[in-house]
Symmetry: C2
Subunit: 194 residues, 2 copies
DNA sequence: TTATAAAAATGACCGTAGTCAATATTTATT
DNA sequence: AATAAATATTGACTACGGTCATTTTTATAA
């Protein structure tokens, strides 16, 4: 009887997203408050939750979009042909993911995929990362005894491990990437690792 | 003038811990409410936070103790000599960690070690896991081209990866352990993995 | 015994995410 | 234009973790 989604609704949702993105740009992800978003968007609190299941769902959208930008940049220069190139391609993304503890927590919380059809935005970027890295591994100078997808999943596991250990008073950004490299040397080129 | 910690305080803390542990045994970790704990312990809410920095700090203590029990059990039968044994030794611990989404989240949040001297209870169990697994690897039938500690850290990274992917409608417990095994075959015995 | 200072406990209060029954708006039908 | 039904918005309300100025208890010194 009615078309399902009114223009009004689409506009409200877009406004909420825009206002939230601006607030994050100004004060960081962890400082975002739903009440601030609805106030600046000029809508009631309930409206927010009519558009997003919860605050995390909004963060997922925004962080997912940001990760996608980093993946675009990582893909841009063509294939990563060895471990060093792989590490440096992933570097900006990993720096972003560890910029705030809050960001890393949200990402880890949503990295576990749901059913294929209902993959969340962050889980989708994880799938995309696997595809990209698997592509590099298949064509590059890496071990060939196991599938490139399995190897790519391992790369992701090691990235998370390195990032988790980074949230450590003694570990700085540089150490994180060095640690990541040691893992990948042993994972992707076991013959050379000795 | 006064001895620093009164007996009263030690008792209160013990009571809070006991009550919380019971509540968790009855209703699971995620359902724990601070208000319920203080009510059943017969103390005021503020008292809870005088004893524990926040709710997470209490969960860390309790979950840390539980993990230690699983590690005791994993160590009990002596060395794990190959990948299959390693997987089955880790199995009960991984099943516990994935029993509730909430448990896994708390564990991941606290896995990143702080400075050595202020290692939290969960971070300590991660160190202990590394030590145990590194011991198995050093003496067992595993690759020798990289250090056993690096290999053990990888085992942990893969365990977390397998558990994260488990929180997926399509993935059951069995699949989680199979996935874990594929990772470890490729990680610990690259020569045989083909 | 009393005075006193440190330690412990209290509970009203706050911040913030999330709910839901009531109301308002939009669009299709006649 | 009036009616009806689906869609969208509202804001008071709840749940729950966490704070802090105040009060109570405890142990020591005079």
């Amino acid at each position: 009887m009615l078309k399902q989604t009114q223009k009004r609704s689409i506009e409200t949702r877009a406004k909420l997203l825009r206002v939230a993105t601006e607030a994050i740009a100004a004060n960081g992800h962890g400082a975002l408050r739903v009440e601030e978003v609805v106030k600046n968007a000029g809508v009631a609190k309930g409206t927010f939750f009519a558009h997003f299941k919860d605050k995390d769902a909004l963060m997922e959208l925004i962080i997912g979009a940001q990760i996608d930008e980093y993946l675009d940049a990582a893909e841009e220069p063509g294939r990563a042909k060895n471990v060093d190139e792989l590490v440096s391609r992933m570097r900006p993304l990993m720096d972003f993911m560890t910029r705030e503890r809050y960001i890393f927590d949200v990402i880890v919380r949503h990295s576990g995929a749901a059913v294929k059809e209902e993959l969340g935005p962050i889980a989708q970027t994880f799938e995309r990362t696997i595809e990209i890295v698997a592509g590099w591994i298949a064509a590059g100078d890496f071990r060939k005894d196991v599938s490139e997808v399995l190897l790519a999943e391992g790369v992701q596991a090691f990235a998370i491990q390195a990032m988790a250990l980074h949230f450590c008073a003694i570990n700085n950004q540089e150490e994180m990437h060095l640690r990541f490299k040691s893992y990948l040397d042993a994972w992707l080129n076991p013959a050379l690792a000795s």
